[in-house]
């Protein structure tokens, strides 16, 4: 029995290790300081960099966060604290559906309502598309974290004559804040790795953008897609480099989550 389990574990980990290994091997050679800053060069230009792509990803995830964090947390609080209302049940269900929604469809949706109407690809459109992906995740993790806060704490606070909104803000959220932050970081990690929606909303670019509303914006994922399928060896190598950067960012974010949860567990053990 134990052997079967071990086999399963190995089989699960092997692909990840394999991918990480491949990316590391193929991408490491391209990495240097210039790579991070320079503008992209032609298909045979080894001195080209992915600066705009990194900046673009950063900006669009940032925009997405600006939308999705308040909305997601707000929705999460609503689902958790008013869970008995019909609206909550219905919209909660819709939220769960959105969590696994095909991102290409979301991208298409934003393409139609923003890109077509403004006649521009833009960072805002890209960010907005990403936020549609992030909101359900943040809402769901917020709800679950807040639901873990024991009802008795809410009652204790209300029994002191603290109004409901203050109880939610100062006691419930405060107690569940680690879960909230975890959800946000996970959503960010997810958004950073999305490609399809950005293809349709921000497209690609070779410059650092000067405006977020009317210029196509580069992103790491789209660059990997474009370069990786280009057929030019230099560009393909750079795609691997970009992939390495992306993977390192994802790993970093996930590690961040692990560390904060780890701290939370130690605190919980003290009780």
């Amino acid at each position: 029995m134990t052997i079967l389990i071990l086999v399963a574990v190995v089989l699960a980990i092997v692909p990840l290790v394999f991918i990480l290994g491949e990316v590391l091997v193929r991408g490491a050679g391209v990495i240097n300081l210039g790579f991070f800053i320079h503008l992209p060069g032609g298909p045979n230009d080894k001195s080209g960099g992915i600066g705009p792509a990194i900046a673009g990803s950063f900006i669009m995830v940032g925009i997405a966060g600006l939308f999705s964090i308040p909305i997601g947390i707000g929705a999460g609080i609503f689902f958790a604290e008013w869970s008995s209302s019909k609206i909550s049940t219905v919209s909660g269900f819709m939220n769960d559906v959105l969590t696994g929604f095909p991102t290409m469809v979301l991208g298409l949706f934003v393409f139609i309502i923003i890109v077509l109407s403004t006649h521009e690809f833009s960072a805002v459109a890209g960010g907005f598309a990403l936020s549609l992906i992030m909101i359900p995740i943040i809402a769901r993790t917020t709800t679950e974290s807040l639901k873990l806060v024991p009802t008795t704490l809410r009652e204790a606070s209300m029994a002191l004559g603290v109004p409901r909104w203050k109880t939610i803000l100062r006691i419930v959220i405060s107690t569940g804040k680690t879960g909230l932050l975890t959800g946000i970081v996970l959503a960010i990690a997810r958004a950073t790795g999305e490609t399809a929606p950005l293809l349709l909303t921000a497209a690609a670019s070779t410059h650092y953008i000067t405006s977020i509303v009317n210029q196509p914006t580069a992103s790491l994922t789209v660059l990997i897609y474009n370069y990786g399928t280009s057929g030019f060896p230099v560009w393909e190598a750079q795609a691997w480099g970009a992939a390495l950067v992306l993977i390192l960012v994802m790993l970093g974010l996930n590690l961040l989550v692990k560390l904060t949860i780890g701290r939370n567990l130690t605190e919980a053990r003290m009780e």
Binding site: S84, P150, L153, M158, L160, G161, V162, I171, S174, K177
Partner: protein, 263 residues
């Protein structure tokens, strides 16, 4: 028909009383018309078998019952001549006058001992550090916890033992300076020594407050209460001075329950 022990007429003035109080959880009728007067500055124990409605009763007194989804309350609860269920009354204000200590100790996990003690005050906007310090010490002393924690008030509230946590919760309830303290089986999660300490503090509290304590521990009810109410299946079966109820109960049901002949 509630049996009243013979000395009922000498009851001290009631601090809070219920008039035909009924309460439901969804379709279940937990309280079927309770009329009870809780004497001021006395400890009244409310006891009865599981499901008799004793916890529901006290949760109606500070309007916590209605926070449970599907819960409803009808009837009146009169506090100093005011019906707290009057639509014009703000429940938040009532809960500042009627405090509560719960069955399982529930200090706020993100707060220190000090912050827990004055949580009710700080959360409601009190900033005066001097006043907060004063009230923190006063309430921790009244809960018989001051001496044990005064050395390190910044420690998290959850770093204390179970008994200490419960006394912290008592201090937290006291700091708001309510008039009535409700306690829902406050010692059931505690060991005998912690229980003894909590009972000690309850005994002193009645000098300043009116205490209403739900307990399933008969000996505890006998030890610390001045008056005892016995409830059964959502009704008030008997009410009277504790010594009388425990020496010669008027109702056969009460007799059966306290001598352990139930079931």
């Amino acid at each position: 028909m509630t049996k009243l022990s013979k000395r009922f007429i000498e009851l001290p003035p009631a601090k809070v009383e219920t008039i035909n109080l009924r309460a439901t959880y969804g379709k279940v009728q937990a309280l079927k018309g309770i009329n009870i007067k809780f004497p001021e500055n006395q400890v009244t124990a409310v006891m009865g078998p599981s499901g008799c409605g004793k916890s529901t009763l006290i949760r109606c007194l500070n309007r916590i019952h209605e926070l449970t989804p599907g819960a409803k309350v009808e009837g009146q609860v009169i506090l100093d001549g005011l019906n707290i269920y009057d639509p014009k009354v703000d429940p938040v204000v009532i809960r500042k006058r009627i405090g509560m200590v719960f069955q399982k100790p529930n200090p706020f996990p993100t707060m220190s001992i000090y912050d827990n003690a004055v949580a009710g005050l700080k959360l409601n906007g009190l900033r005066d550090k001097k006043k907060l310090d004063e009230l923190a010490e006063k309430s921790l002393r009244m809960a018989f916890l001051w001496d044990e924690v005064k050395g390190d008030l910044k420690k998290p509230g959850t770093a204390l033992s179970g008994g200490q946590q419960q006394r912290l919760c008592i201090a937290r309830a006291l700091a708001v300076e309510p008039e009535i303290i409700l306690m829902d089986e406050p010692c059931s999660a505690l060991d005998p020594i912690a229980t003894a300490k909590v009972e000690e503090s309850i005994f002193q509290l009645k000098k300043e407050f009116t205490v209403i304590i739900v307990t399933h521990n008969l000996q505890q009810a006998a030890r610390i209460s001045d008056y005892t109410a016995f409830m059964y299946l959502g009704k008030l079966e008997e009410f009277g001075e504790t010594t009388t109820v425990f020496e010669k109960p008027q109702s056969e049901l009460t007799e059966k329950y306290i001598t352990g002949k139930f079931g």
